[in-house]
Subunit: 426 residues, 2 copies
């Protein structure tokens, strides 16, 4: 395992939302899977490390997908004429029911993991389904891919069809424990994350039980929050004692604080919810394309950032159709411009540097020191051949990066590393 090496190329990474560093002909050092620095010359101390000269190719941190549904990859781009709750009932739940069949799961999850592996993301927070064998299979496939992921067996004991809804809170919790025990020490790069689907899918008893498991195992949590007006109104009915949607999670102890928590969407989060997320350090997975596809709206990302919230990007396949977080960056910028124009002229649009930050270091923070090339960061990197995006004039590194983001799919990832391990190299 070559976890000590040097890459030479045009290095780009974020230090902060406003500080995008670009260094042509730079030496990027990986030492024991961790970034040992970016240097203008090849430091003496690392002369023994093998060097790969990538020429003028771009080298950027691996991208971070804070929210993706593995079993929905199979139907991306379909049934997009519905809103969230109708779409779940008509498309998502029937499709997810199929994952009881391990043969089906193998075919579908293999395609998902292949796509993820080929693409620019190195990390992801992944929803599976409630099915144990299929979830374990997904984790096996992800582990073999070299990607670093958090994967959740979904909990859902109400408001779902018979074939998918878990029989009771007790069953759901027993299965969750069995899942956790069954995978203990099984993986190096694949870890479990507790995944109550969303408030409408989980009884109070189930939420209390998940909190107990969280407490016992010390696991992170992922779920959905304030995505769509219909859903928000429903949660208000279901939880009359919650001050707001996020408060319903918080009442069960599943909303940040000591519990690493990432909540997808937050399109309709009001001031109180934003305040609570800020206090408790809850991560927001901003999923702009999904929020357009399901007519949810545009999340107030500028407000999240100015309040100091921790924000990353999510593909939300299959609410979103694209796994690549480059696409999510472009979508996030475009949506923020429309929000500025149509909703609130005080919330200025995201810049390219900010969107790049969100899709790398911003989301990476949920995984630790991840998503940058600052010293001490885990070494996730992409080497990108953007020659198909050349112009008849010289592009600066920032311009090349902008073009890679906006023209997602037109450049070619020639090498990909996660935690210093080669995922692939041409």
């Amino acid at each position: 395992m070559h976890r000590n090496f040097v890459l030479k190329g045009t290095v780009c990474y974020s230090q902060s939302p406003h500080a995008l560093v670009t260094l042509p002909d730079a030496y990027l050092v990986c030492e024991e899977g961790v970034c040992a620095g970016v240097f203008a010359g090849w430091p003496e101390a690392y002369r023994a490390f093998p060097l790969t000269d990538c020429g003028t190719k771009l080298i950027v941190p691996g991208l971070i997908d804070l929210h993706v549904h593995a079993p929905q990859y199979a139907f991306r781009g379909l049934g997009m004429d519905l809103e969230l709750l109708e779409w779940l009932a008509a498309h998502t739940f029937p499709e997810e029911s199929k994952y009881r069949d391990l043969g089906y799961a193998r075919e579908a999850y293999t395609a998902f993991v292949d796509a993820l592996t080929r693409g620019p993301n190195t990390r992801a927070c992944v929803f599976a389904t409630c099915h144990l064998p299929a979830t374990r299979l997904l984790m096996d496939l992800l582990e073999a891919s070299g990607l670093v992921t958090l994967v959740g067996k979904v909990n859902m004991d109400r408001n779902a069809p018979d074939g998918l809804r878990e029989a009771s809170a007790e069953n759901s919790l027993r299965d969750t424990r069995a899942w956790l025990e069954g995978i203990e020490k099984r993986y190096e790069r694949t870890a479990p994350i507790l995944t109550p689907r969303f408030i409408p899918s989980c009884t109070d008893e189930l939420m209390r039980g998940i909190a107990a498991i969280q407490n016992e195992w010390g696991l992170p949590v992922q779920s959905h929050l304030s995505e769509n007006p219909g859903e928000i109104a429903w949660v208000r009915e279901l939880c009359p004692n919650a001050a707001f949607y996020g408060d319903a999670y918080d009442q069960f102890g599943l909303f940040g604080g000591d519990v690493p928590t990432v909540m997808a969407h937050c399109v309709g989060s009001d001031e109180r919810e934003i305040e609570r997320m800020s206090e408790k350090g809850v991560f927001v997975a901003h999923c702009p394309q999904s929020n357009a596809n399901l007519s949810s709206g545009i999340a107030p990302v500028r407000r999240f950032l100015s309040r100091g919230l921790r924000v990353g990007l999510g593909s939300d396949v299959a609410g979103g159709c694209h796994t690549s977080i480059f696409r999510a960056m472009a979508d996030a910028i475009q949506m923020s411009k429309l929000r500025w124009r149509l909703v609130d002229a005080d919330d200025k649009a995201l810049s390219l540097a900010e969107a790049f930050y969100l899709g790398t270091k911003g989301g990476g923070a949920f995984f630790g020191k991840v998503g940058s090339f600052e010293t001490g960061y885990e070494f996730d990197a992409l080497v990108i051949d953007d020659s198909a995006l050349a112009a008849p004039f010289t592009l600066t590194p920032e311009e090349r990066l902008a073009r890679v983001v906006y023209s997602e799919g037109e450049s070619r990832i020639v090498a990909k590393y996660a935690r210093g391990r080669t995922v692939f190299a041409a």
Copy 2:
């Protein structure tokens, strides 16, 4: 030249915004460059025509780009942090100035035409620059590509930098006549379209002169309309006697009626402007991605359609970053959903069938009987291998089409025809 042939495959086309026809194993007949019909079996009358069996591949009409700037292709995806007027000044005008250099124009236009040729569009309304040799070169390249296009030498005699602004209305008009005379009878598939850039770029004298040329030559007209609030306010200042922006064109006789006219954007068109476009049969080129990138807003496409306006889609490269009108279809749907959610709940979102119609038959109408496989339509077609978008279950033809639209770039165009002529075939 094989302009008589039969393609067999899964044929999809629009009859109307709501009538999407899909026929598996259908025989699509091209006779003398015109669609002779779609048949369940191979008609006796066409047994002498060569048959290409495309298996289950999708066969759809070529896509129509009603608005694209050829000289902006070189800087797509760059400088997207500005609004329209600032973006024109900082990026567009300096770049367009370079097209005085024919060597530069050759390199840049070759890349543009190559991209257009490889992609799914078969027709386009193209803005060049004000430079004669470069515009003629662009037309030569487009003619050689096999695509069918309307190309405009741009007119602009005010509010542009010295290197780009034409010296006077007289100069601009003389150049326009010289351009038209120089290309007369030169092309089979490439025709001129009069192109006053937009009101702020053209003095009254120039507009009157363009109207005189229009009258003399009977040419169509393309321009920009009500794109961005800053621009609309500026036009109000520049044309105090115009009732609204479109009225300024109309006062010069360059706004539909007997003059085939396509106006890009119409984001800020008010009721009076919509009414006038309806009366005069002005086409709208809806450019959703550009309108997001330049923070312009979301055009009221639903209102255009319900008022019976003639609407197609435009890439508006480089306001938009993508030449493919498949991408514009997906963008149009997503933006219409956000408009429904954020601006006007009475204007319901576009369906996939409607967006597909806009990008084919809707825009195609500007070129005549174009954009459908109904009998008598000019034969523009794409054969699409969408096997990379397969699912672990059987997709209907409509679902396959939806996925091709949403996952633009992930399917492969294996053959492309325009007016019955093969643009390429694998």
